[in-house]
């Protein structure tokens, strides 16, 4: 009887492997093999001259990586990506902290919380390319925003939002802020609701003001979640693509000041420059890999 049972248990557990087959097979074909061939490509000179004549593939070691750094394109586009990420991230984290603190404050007893949460999360689900197209039309030189500002007497002539580096980058940053602050608020709110309420009660007994409570209790205890939000947002920021791509029609105008790393990668993918595209992919892979390890470690730590 006992022998039979252990035999069946073993038979059951074989099913663990069987149920993993679809995931593993799909992962190997559609992610692992492409990843390996991307890395492989990065060590070869392989592109199409004028889009027609094939050059290579010839093995050139790390020449592609050197080209990326020495041409100045990579640092420039990394800089653009980071600037636009920061423009979006700073207001995002500040507003999310504020809203999270209000939503979780029992003494405020805010009504219609569900409504507000629904509204602030909405932009996150909107098709980024459609949203960017909308902003492009709204902020175009003869678009509704310019005509509104002129009707209100704020502007005397249309402001060319997409022709100035500052305003174009700010638009991209603002759209990222709008699309992500709802998500961040809900994450931070969950963290704030997880804080032991007796700490707040004790602070209230001691006569602490709500500002003191926020800075002395909420913020320090929220630190792990804040770091998590920041790192995941940074990973997302490095992948910034849809919004600037559609807003500037892939040109990164003005003067490539809104060109992001993934837009740059996309250019290489379209022109079939496998060598440089591969090297760029590998660099992005390593950077996100390092950032992911940080997130991963934090998750492990919070589970213990």
């Amino acid at each position: 009887m006992a022998k039979k049972k252990s035999g069946t248990v073993l038979r059951y557990n074989r099913w663990g492997y069987i149920f993993l087959i679809p995931f593993v097979v799909v992962f190997i074909i559609f992610q692992l093999i492409p990843l390996i061939s991307t890395i492989y490509n990065s060590f070869f000179e392989h592109y199409f001259k004028n889009g027609l004549t094939e050059v290579g593939p010839t093995f050139i070691g790390i020449q592609n990586y050197a080209t990326l750094f020495s041409s100045g394109d990579l640092p420039k586009y990394l800089g653009n990506t980071m600037i636009m990420w920061i423009i979006g991230f700073i207001p995002q984290i500040l507003l999310s902290l504020l809203l999270g603190a209000w939503f979780s404050d029992p003494s405020l007893r805010l009504k219609h919380q569900q409504f507000f949460k629904t509204v602030i999360y909405l932009p996150n689900l909107i098709m980024a390319s459609a949203f960017a197209m909308l902003f492009f039309t709204l902020f175009s030189d003869g678009g509704p925003i310019n005509s509104l500002l002129m009707q209100l007497g704020i502007l005397s002539e249309p402001y060319k939002f997409l022709s100035h580096a500052g305003s174009a980058r700010s638009l991209v940053g603002f759209m990222n802020f709008l699309m992500w602050f709802g998500n961040t608020t809900i994450l931070l709110l969950a963290g704030m609701l997880g804080i032991d309420t007796s700490l707040y009660e004790a602070a209230e007994v001691d006569g602490a003001t709500s500002t003191q409570v926020f800075f002395k209790i909420t913020l320090p205890l929220l630190r792990p979640i804040l770091v998590y939000v920041m790192v995941t947002s940074l990973i997302g920021g490095l992948q910034m693509y849809d919004v600037p791509q559609i807003l500037t029609n892939g040109q990164g105008n003005p003067a490539r000041t809104t060109m992001t790393l993934i837009m740059y990668l996309n250019k290489h993918l379209y022109s079939k420059n496998y060598g440089l595209g591969g090297a760029l992919s590998v660099i992005l892979f390593i950077v996100t890999g390092i950032l992911s390890v940080i997130v991963f470690r934090m998750n492990q730590a919070s589970e213990k």
């Binding site: 663990g16 507000f116 990973i235 990668l265």
Partner: protein
């Protein structure tokens, strides 16, 4: 005395927070309001400038969009629905299966596989895109929906959500009982585990659907035939075309077409979605 001054304090703070929340609400909705207003206006009306009130040209815009020779909107809608629906279906079904494998069985590689799947969660699709396209070209899968749908089977984030949900709703004793009753393992998964996972599957199906519906990067690289393109690619074509030649009412209607389905579904299910997010957030 102290209590009353404190009470006033709370009241002022409440007023401030409501004012800020209303401003934030306007900031979120203003763009969509202008979009809906503008998609009801004619091209001639739109060139005159901003208007806060809708006009009566909506049906005309819909009509001209549907019969536009430049924008294959109907095939775009159809393609988007097909790709997003199959992505949601495969992603939720197989991620539940993967989570079930880790949750319900004891085997040697269990811990390794769990850590491994979490480890690959953050790899962006963009960094493997180069090899991905080369491979798809070799497999003759360009302009096919397969490269957009099948990879959804391996979705680490969906897997992670399912795994977390299983821990709270799927007791191993239940599966044990099904075995004693003589149900096969595959049947136990389909007929006992899967129904219990319905709420989690619903939440993740919506997110997978929306994610795929909105996806632009990969589809734009794979789909080059006009009749295969999905909505985000059509929007991009609209942007790259000579923009001034377009009927602006039609352009706004096109944007509305792309985002309205998601907004409607979201508003109907928002309660589940927002609370589902919080569940994932606490655990993540």
């Amino acid at each position: 005395m102290n209590a009353s001054s404190k009470g006033l304090n709370v009241k002022t703070r409440r007023v401030i927070s409501y004012v800020v929340l209303v401003i934030v609400t306007i900031m979120c909705l203003f763009w969509f309001y202008v979009l809906f207003v503008n998609s009801t206006r004619s091209h001639a009306d739109l060139t005159k400038g901003f208007s806060a009130l809708p006009s009566s040209n909506a049906l005309k815009n819909v009509n001209s969009l549907l019969h536009s020779s430049n924008i294959p909107i109907l095939s775009g809608l159809f393609n988007s629905v097909v790709v997003a629906a199959f992505t949601a279906l495969l992603s939720t079904y197989f991620s539940t299966m993967t989570a079930y494998a880790i949750h319900a069985y004891e085997f040697k590689l269990k811990k390794f596989m769990f850590t491994f799947i979490l480890g690959i969660m953050m790899i962006p699709t963009q960094v493997t895109a180069l090899g991905f396209i080369q491979l798809m070209r070799k497999m003759h899968l360009m302009n096919s929906f397969i490269p957009l749908i099948i990879p959804a089977i391996a979705a680490p984030a969906v897997f992670f959500y399912m795994k977390q949900y299983m821990e709270s709703t799927l007791p191993l004793e239940l599966l044990e009982a099904a075995r004693i009753d003589g149900a096969g393992e595959f049947r136990t998964f389909n007929q006992i585990a899967l129904p219990l996972m319905k709420p989690a599957i619903a939440v993740q199906a919506i997110f997978s659907f929306v994610g795929s519906w909105n996806n632009y990067f990969t589809p734009a690289l794979i789909l080059t035939d006009d009749n295969k393109k999905t909505l985000p690619i059509l929007i991009a074509t609209l942007r790259s075309a000579d923009y001034l030649k377009f009927d602006m009412g039609q352009v706004y209607m096109m944007i509305t077409f792309s985002i309205l389905p998601v907004i409607i579904v979201y508003l109907i299910l928002s309660k589940n979605i927002v609370s589902g997010l919080a569940v994932g957030a606490v655990k993540g």
